[in-house]
Symmetry: C2
Subunit: 364 residues, 2 copies
């Protein structure tokens, strides 16, 4: 599989939903496979909150492959021998695309809290600019899970002629207060951490010792990505501290998992980016800018494929089913798969074998 990682620079403004602009801006992206002559084999992959453009393959010296490596590659469900796959880092993120720690032109100083709020609509508008710059005006498929699934849905509504197929996993039509509440833990924990310094922290301040507030917020995140059943399986009531059950800060295995994973995360993910992306998720509402959800959904021309997970405690199956029923009732092309899974929201990243044949069939 041919992999290329690039950064595209744009000197023309990106007009944002807020009325503000990003200018200049850049988009980090990765491609897998090769573009065919008539440019008819393009699949756009959209990433989730903590993801990046590194969706597949393994960088030299890295142990970990891209976040959807099990799905994307030669002979895999998203077959890179057949398709040219593009994945971009969303604006607002911290892996190469313009975000709050990018310099605020013409100064060299980072935007920090002066960075404009970006929305899911803005994220996909930036991707449209990238596609244009590559001379790509039509996509075979757009696919994504969680926030990536929101982007896929927003593409379907905002640019009805862009793609033949939309595959959205583990997403929703509008973020519910339940999810906003989970995000609120992170927002407050980050803001109230003194080392956050109201966003005035040094660049790379958290490379060695991550921001505690982000780690704390991420615990709430992990809860929402797992499920009661997956935690039972993964951790049970195992106790891992040598200091015994009756020591106040002795830890259950689930606690050690949370500490370990969130501390790691807080060393590589920028807390300002976290705040901005969480805001984009909170403000996601397919019907905004349209008369109603029905009005928005009615615009869709692509073949829609919706996948939910039975134990998803972040975006519940009923939310995807709601879109499906609306489209079906409306006579639009839509199919829906509820994957039976104990893995919670994370299933879209870890239980690929339960839905990759479904995707293979779509891309046949």
């Amino acid at each position: 599989m041919k992999i290329e990682t690039k950064i595209a620079h744009f000197s023309s403004p990106l007009y944002l939903e807020s009325g503000r602009i990003l200018e200049p801006y850049q988009i980090a992206y990765e491609t897998y496979g090769e573009l065919n002559e008539d440019k008819s084999n393009v699949i756009l992959v959209c990433h989730a909150l903590s993801g990046s453009h590194h969706a597949a393959g393994t960088y030299a010296g890295d142990k970990k492959a891209g976040w959807w490596d099990g799905l994307i590659g030669d002979g895999k469900a998203v077959d890179t021998q057949k398709y040219f796959v593009i994945c971009t880092n969303v604006v607002g993120s911290c892996f190469g695309s313009t975000g709050p720690m990018s310099p605020m032109y013409p100064s060299e100083e980072p935007y920090r809290l002066k960075f404009p709020v970006v929305t899911i609509k803005d994220m996909i508008r930036a991707q449209m600019q990238l596609l244009s710059s590559l001379g790509i005006y039509h996509l075979h498929t757009i696919i994504g899970g969680s926030m990536g699934g929101m982007q896929a849905l927003q593409f379907a509504v905002d640019y009805p002629n862009l793609a033949d197929h939309i595959i959205s996993l583990a997403a929703t039509y509008a973020t519910r207060p339940w999810t906003i509440a989970f995000n609120k833990v992170a927002v407050e924990a980050i803001r109230q951490d003194p080392r956050f310094e109201n966003g005035q922290y040094e660049k790379d301040a958290f490379k060695k010792e991550g921001l505690d507030g982000l780690a704390i917020g991420r615990i709430a995140g992990h809860i929402s990505y797992l499920s009661p059943a997956s935690m039972d399986k993964k951790f049970g009531r195992n106790y891992v501290s040598n200091d015994g059950l009756f020591e106040l800060f002795g830890r259950y295995e689930v606690e050690r998992y949370m500490e370990y994973n969130t501390a790691n995360f807080s060393r590589f993910f920028d807390p300002l980016s976290y705040l901005y992306i969480v805001k984009a998720i909170n403000t996601f509402n397919l019907s905004r800018g349209y008369d109603s959800l029905y009005d928005a959904i009615s615009r869709v021309k692509a073949k829609m494929h919706l996948i939910s997970f039975s134990s998803d405690y972040l975006f519940f199956p009923e939310e995807m089913e709601h879109i499906y029923k609306m489209m079906e009732h409306n006579g639009q092309s839509c199919d829906y798969l509820e994957v039976q899974s104990d893995y919670g929201h994370d299933a879209f990243l870890v239980e690929l074998e339960k839905f990759d044949s479904y995707i293979k069939e779509i891309l046949k």
Copy 2:
């Protein structure tokens, strides 16, 4: 209804499950109604994490009644014209019973982190001491919800001859990693708040400005007490900030609710007590000290009445049902009600009308 609020002092040691002792210790408690001559009309009420012995009635000058005032009172389901109701503040809490901010005899200094870990077993052992001191050796009923429901179950197992009826609501037989993970947010947020000072904060340090860490942890708590559906009803996607949708720290109504309630909470609840009580909840496991859960449950002689709530996202109905099935299979006296509710775990405090007739029937 006659209400008395008292503190009982004990100079003999309370032997704890950890092998440590509390000596001396005190128990704050409240009683409602009057003890009959043969002391056969006693109901013990057990409170949850943030509760206190103030279960019913309204103190002079207070606006808010006790936490189960809708259930306990003259002519109510727990009828104080008929029953003598006792509610004690659990050891470890901060409303008058001995806890981490109590003086560590013989010094005047608070225990702080030297306070021993207490468990649900310890909480009920302390209540046994109080009952003894009042000359009460038999109870008509023990009732409680959430951590109070754990206590009720633990009483049933540890002291099979104590009560005729056990009513346990919204509880479990052993705390699952899912709940431990929610508690973990609070544990980390409290510990990492610099004003917590590793427990060395001044007494009353947080009366005016609560500890942020406790407030952040409490957001995770509130998520687990509500449900996706109850949040939809209560908050929807309402946005309450004047500063507009595209301001980073503009707030949805659910966010305002979380901020307001958790800030209040952090001004009156002691963070060390929170850590200790959360630890008691995490370590709750009915089978500890017995060969198995079955062995523990088999000891129960009281008539068991279990109530769960369909939308409880903290202790799921299946957990209560598990106890019910075990007892039923074992030929023990047990009935089970799953209340259909959208209110989540909090339903045991707010949707009384859905189960108070069930309790009335038991206490008839």
